[in-house]
């Protein structure tokens, strides 16, 4: 390519100079005219205009094109704010939990009881970001309201949704006092006390106050541990004074967090029935799901949504490399070895599609073994189900009848599916990271909301921090406006999430944290930013040189020669004059 360009570009300047005769062939005289005849002014200027026209194209059009096409567009990012978030300088998440106290006693007594209890509670609490705040239910209407509420037992502490727990004091005459009972399906703690306890509520040594405080502390111990663990693993130590977790608690939390699925607003659940033979070929999964799964999913709906599909796979054999089950004479059962379980799922042949919906897929596989290999159990533990971390769960459903001549089951009824469904429910609960205590499901769910919100805030912050670092370390990557927009949105929602946390509105905080995390990820993984990351500056020489060689050299040489001639002529004129 160099050849034609070179030839053409320099030709015009060169050929235009064929204006003088070869000295040896000068027709005029062979004696003294070694000097070529003077070039006419006209041809001189013609030549200069031609050179100038090429320069004009290069400078007037070429330079703007170069400037425009190689400029790297970098929109401004709020770097300071982004790294501040990542370092935890702003937006410390705090978790003030509101706990309403409802007591059929005089308001001032309630007040002093609350004060005392709060005092004891604060002494017990080692984790400053997580605070329990006691307050009376509906202060202006205490007496009447309490009457009313006692009658209406299911009522959830007035209209205030932000109240985490309701403590209901109930006077009793008999039994051991004080004692407590946590409602399993509503966030209510019943505390039974004998009226004699009330008299001493104002003193710090009140047994009732101490009892309530200890109960509360126990109830929220796991949540505190989880949050503390989260803080210690995901952010710098300066973000909060992390109270030292006991070694075994930390290890347990670590173990649990490895199996929990990454948070997503929507999960896709796949229920699959695998059987190595032709039976059972049908299962009453819809009814079973409705009965056993739907209530659980319903209660999770504040945190995540779920979509479900189901499938039946007949003649689904185990992978050939999977060691076949062995018959255990003692247990009278076929057994699988514990260490082989990871290979149980025949990923190559069983159609467990990775993800067909937006969210991550949670797989639940129900395996019905052959009649001849039933019952099939896990060796040693004798369990018939196990959990695959971050993937789903497997359950083996051994047909109920083990008599040899019984006809194989052709369809699984809702009742037959019940144990498997319960197993799956438990597996789903631990896959979603629901804490194991306290006993009240609503409380556990609200704990999960807080933990998820906090972890989303941390993950969004650290993503933003990483983006800020990338922005500063790699000045050559382009940053489109969409990234700046996403970052702004993420920062905004982060702030809102933290505000909501501080206000105690955890549901809203989760919403905002979810958006913030999504936007932060979108900004960080913007496709057009990565193109030029691995393009060192030295390569640009290799890109420009083939261009600068053939085009720039004739241009520069022609211009230099003209300038030199002009300077020489100018000097000659001055010398002459």
């Amino acid at each position: 390519m160099a050849t034609p360009e070179d030839a053409n570009a320099s030709l015009k300047t060169e050929v235009s100079e064929i204006a003088s005769v070869h000295p040896n062939q000068s027709p005029k005289s062979g004696v003294s005219s070694a000097k070529p005849p003077q070039e006419s002014t006209r041809s001189l200027w013609l030549r200069r205009t031609v050179i100038l026209s090429f320069w004009a194209v290069a400078v007037l059009l070429g330079l703007p094109v170069w400037w425009k096409t190689t400029a790297i567009y970098r929109s401004d990012l709020p770097l300071q704010a982004m790294s501040d978030w990542a370092e935890g300088k702003i937006g410390k998440p705090v978790f003030p939990l509101r706990i309403a106290v409802e007591a059929p006693i005089l308001p001032q007594d309630t007040h002093s009881l609350i004060q005392t209890t709060q005092h004891v509670l604060d002494d017990l609490n080692e984790f400053s970001a997580h605070q329990l705040r006691l307050m009376p239910v509906d202060p202006p209407l205490t007496a009447n309201a309490s009457q009313h509420v006692v009658v209406d037992g299911t009522r959830n502490s007035g209209d205030d949704k932000d109240t985490t727990l309701l403590i209901r004091l109930i006077p009793v005459e008999t039994g051991e006092t004080p004692r407590s009972y946590l409602q399993p399906y509503s966030p209510t703690l019943h505390v039974y006390y004998s009226p004699s306890h009330i008299s001493s509520v104002s003193s710090t040594a009140s047994p009732l106050a101490a009892f309530i405080a200890r109960e509360l502390h126990d109830i929220f111990a796991e949540e505190q541990a989880q949050l503390a663990y989260l803080l210690s693993t995901t952010s710098g130590e300066h973000i909060a004074k992390v109270h030292s977790l006991p070694q075994e608690t930390a290890a347990e939390l670590q173990r649990r967090s490895t199996r929990v699925l990454k948070y997503a607003p929507t999960y896709h659940l796949t229920f699959s029935l695998f059987t190595p033979t032709s039976t059972p070929s049908a299962w009453d999964i819809e009814a079973a799901l409705r009965q056993y799964m739907a209530p659980l999913l319903e209660s999770f709906s504040a945190i995540s949504n779920f979509t479900i599909d189901t499938q039946v796979q007949l003649y689904a054999t185990l992978s050939p490399s999977f060691p076949p089950p062995e018959y255990d004479e003692n247990a009278k059962a076929w057994t699988l070895r514990n260490e082989d379980l990871s290979g149980f799922i025949n990923a190559a042949e069983w159609p467990l599609s990775p993800s067909i919906a937006d969210g991550p897929t949670v797989n639940f596989a129900l395996y019905v073994p052959e009649q001849s290999q039933s019952p099939l159990l896990v060796k040693d533990s004798g369990a018939s189900s196990w959990l695959v971390p971050q993937w789903g769960g497997v359950a083996i459903l051994n047909p109920p009848s083990t008599e040899q001549d019984a006809a194989p089951l052709s369809a699984l009824s809702k009742e037959a599916l019940a144990p498997a469904m319960q197993t799956f429910s438990n597996q789903l609960i631990s896959l979603l990271g629901l804490p194991q205590t306290p006993a009240s499901l609503p409380l556990r769910l609200s704990t999960l909301t807080r933990v998820r919100a906090a972890s989303l805030v941390f993950s969004a912050s650290s993503t933003l921090g990483a983006l800020a670092q990338v922005y500063q370390k790699l000045p050559s990557i382009p940053v489109p406006d969409t990234v700046a927009k996403s970052v702004d949105l993420a920062l905004q929602h982060l702030q809102q999430a933290c505000d909501e946390l501080r206000e105690g509105r955890f549901q809203g905080a989760l919403e905002h944290a979810r958006i913030a995390d999504g936007e932060a990820e979108k900004a960080f993984f913007e496709r057009s930013m990565v193109g030029q990351v691995y393009f060192p500056d030295e390569h640009k020489v290799a890109v420009y040189l083939p261009l600068l060689g053939p085009i720039a050299v004739p241009l520069l040489m022609a211009a230099l020669k003209e300038i030199k001639n002009e300077v020489a002529a100018f000097k000659a004129r001055r010398a002459a004059s």
Partner: protein, 421 residues
């Protein structure tokens, strides 16, 4: 007798073309599939695809296959379907070739190649007759193949030749109309406007008693050309209902999204190009094509027709989607300047180079694509040789034209060896 000669040449050319069309019905499709002949922006197959979409009331650009001007569609939709009744289409393309040849003959008759208002070649008597020039076009194998493949660059060539012919006759409006059509069809002929403007000015001035003001003349003609191109674009918008066609036609020529191999220099370069520099080099390559125009027009101010001819040669080498049709146009225009032939130094080299590349090009393409025993470098290397050959002709003819000017200026230097100092 010359009348008779001309009729014979034209008749023979038409007869041979029609004979080939009818005797070998599969030949047009075979040729239309060759990368050397059909480019993404001129291919007849793509035109048929666009036509099909157009006649079925779908936007012809929706398929992403058709990249040609919208106005071709109503023209070709008037003809019967070429898959079943190819005769009408074939006759159209034969007519296009005959009209091009007649335009070329008009250029030759005008004598503007050797004698202009400001310049009289010292060898002006060395002239081919217009019939010979037309025959050179009609029986040029490149023109022949273009016609048989029914590539729309034949239409483009017709408009360029008509613009030149009418400019040589001083017919401003017709010339500008043809030029605007050529620019509308394939964009780059707009670069021919300045030399044709100079040519028009020279012819008009030598014909009339009172020369027009050059600035006013240029302004009027620029306005007319802009108006005509604007009108053509406007009609296209009316036809397709939106401006979307611009991105699919001129956008494709400017941004080179289709890297199908062709005889040009761009495709290989842009396959290898780093993505981040792609836009920059697109700008550089296009500027490179355009940058010759001002320098040549200024330097060869006295021979505008020669400038226009040389620019067609530069198009044949440097535009993004060149085909042998562009080379055919340039090689057919060269005989107009037969008075320069004695001054050209590398005629043999250029000729043998062109033939060498013409025969080896298809062979190397076969080795690469079908036999699999070669790779892309084989074909690219032969296109480099092909373009080298064309560059030699361009450079050599430029040398000859400048030498000719020098000899007019200094008659005493005729037939003497000169050297540059």
């Amino acid at each position: 007798m010359p009348k008779y000669d001309k009729a014979l040449v034209f008749g023979a050319a038409a007869a041979v073309r029609l004979f080939l069309f009818t005797a070998f019905p599969s030949l047009p499709n075979l040729l239309a599939g060759r990368v050397e002949v059909s480019t993404p922006v001129t291919s007849f197959k793509r035109l048929q695809e666009g036509l099909f979409l157009y006649t079925h009331n779908v936007s012809p650009y929706d398929g992403g296959v058709y990249h040609q001007a919208p106005l071709l569609l109503p023209l070709f939709s008037l003809l019967p379907n070429p898959s079943y009744y190819p005769l009408a289409t074939n006759i159209l393309f034969v007519l296009v070739d005959l009209l091009s040849a007649s335009a070329l003959a008009q250029i030759a008759d005008s004598g503007q190649a050797a004698v202009t208002r400001l310049f009289k070649s010292s060898r002006k008597e060395l002239r081919w007759t217009s019939t010979a020039v037309a025959a050179g076009f009609l029986f040029n194998p490149f023109t022949f193949i273009t016609c048989l493949s029914r590539s729309t660059s034949a239409l483009n060539n017709l408009f360029i030749l008509t613009a030149m012919a009418k400019a040589c006759q001083g017919a401003s409006i017709t010339s500008l109309f043809a030029l605007s059509f050529a620019s509308y069809l394939s964009m780059h002929p707009i670069i021919l406007f300045p030399p044709l403007l100079v040519l028009l000015y020279d012819v008009r001035t030598s014909k009339s008693k009172s020369p027009a003001n050059p600035a006013v003349f240029a302004a009027i003609h620029t306005t007319i050309l802009t108006g005509m191109i604007g009108a053509l674009l406007g009609v296209s918008v009316l036809l397709t209902g939106s401006w979307d066609f611009v991105a699919s036609t001129y956008g494709v020529r400017l941004l080179l999204p289709d890297l199908t191999p062709n005889v040009g220099l761009w495709w290989y370069f842009f396959i290898e190009m780093f993505d981040s520099f792609r836009e920059f080099f697109l700008g550089v390559f296009w500027l490179h094509v355009a940058s010759y125009m001002p320098g040549l027009t200024i330097r060869l101010r006295k021979q505008p027709l020669f400038v226009a001819t040389t620019l067609t040669g530069i198009f044949a080498i440097f535009i993004p989607y060149p085909s042998i049709a562009d080379a055919g146009l340039y090689l057919s225009l060269i005989p107009l300047f037969s008075h320069l032939f004695p001054l050209m130094r590398y005629t043999f080299l250029a000729l043998s180079n062109t033939m060498y590349a013409s025969f080896l090009g298809p062979a190397f393409y076969h080795l690469w694509i079908y036999a699999g025993s070669g790779n892309a470098n084989f074909f690219y290397a032969i296109t480099l040789v092909w373009n080298l050959g064309l560059s030699i002709i361009v450079g050599d003819s430029l040398y000859a034209a400048l030498r000719d000017e020098l000899e007019v200026e200094r008659p005493e230097l005729r037939d003497k060896e000169v050297t540059r100092i």
